[in-house]
Symmetry: C2
Subunit: 114 residues, 2 copies
DNA sequence: AAATTAATTTTATTATTCTGGAAATATGGA
DNA sequence: TCCATATTTCCAGAATAATAAAATTAATTT
């Protein structure tokens, strides 16, 4: 993933309303929600929603598919995975010793001793 | 992780210079780079760097440790892991069927348990 | 073809963020 | 103490982003 695209993707998520939209679409899965359903669920004005959907779609974090009068929006999971890869790769590649630090999820269970 | 903290973390990365700083610190590991070393490597003015470091530090994506006159900045990997967890969790939790969609990186390597 | 419905684009206003020079703070050395 | 070094804070202008009402496009129904 190219760095300007990464910035775009991050910026598209770095906004309360858009993050909410994205999370709702993640929980929904591939079927997606129409713009109207999102307006209802999030109780925000149409133009505002449209503005935010555009940002997420331009960043390719969501996809849009038109079905008759409706436009269904769904999370694009592969783009999120590429983003995560970009953010976590090259850990300690400059040579430092940092074995447990780099691997996500693997070491992070709170210990009783500290 | 709380959603306003998530937005803050995403915003702190959604900027070319800050993303560059963060990635450099990721590649460096726990030892970190001093502000001066970062000014040199990134060729940006001190005040500009300081402004961006503050944003990343407030978001807890990097840590600062003072050592004599120097301040060493290092990536905070556990915060990134929490961020990634937040962004990827609850996939399809609203009931849709979408098994391979949620963890694309994982299904390439078949699980041992059924 | 008119009316209805779904959603977007345009637009103006407001709010926030970025940038870097000049001044300020803090530490260590002569 | 005085000086150099490391870094930050202050400030003001420039740039960018968010909001939502009004106008617009597009598809469907009657």
């Amino acid at each position: 993933m190219e760095s300007t695209k990464v910035v775009q993707a991050l910026a598209s998520l770095a906004q309360v309303t858009r993050l909410e939209i994205y999370r709702l679409l993640v929980s929904r899965g591939p079927e997606g929600f129409s713009a109207g359903e999102l307006v209802e669920r999030l109780t925000i004005p149409g133009p505002t929603l449209s503005f935010h959907l555009k940002a997420l779609a331009n960043a390719e974090l969501i996809t849009a598919r038109k079905e008759s009068r409706f436009i269904y929006y769904a999370a694009n999971f592969s783009q999120m995975n590429e983003l995560v890869t970009y953010l976590t790769q090259n850990c300690c590649s400059l040579g430092a010793v940092c074995d447990p630090v780099c691997s996500p999820g693997k070491y992070l269970r709170p210990k009783k001793s500290a």
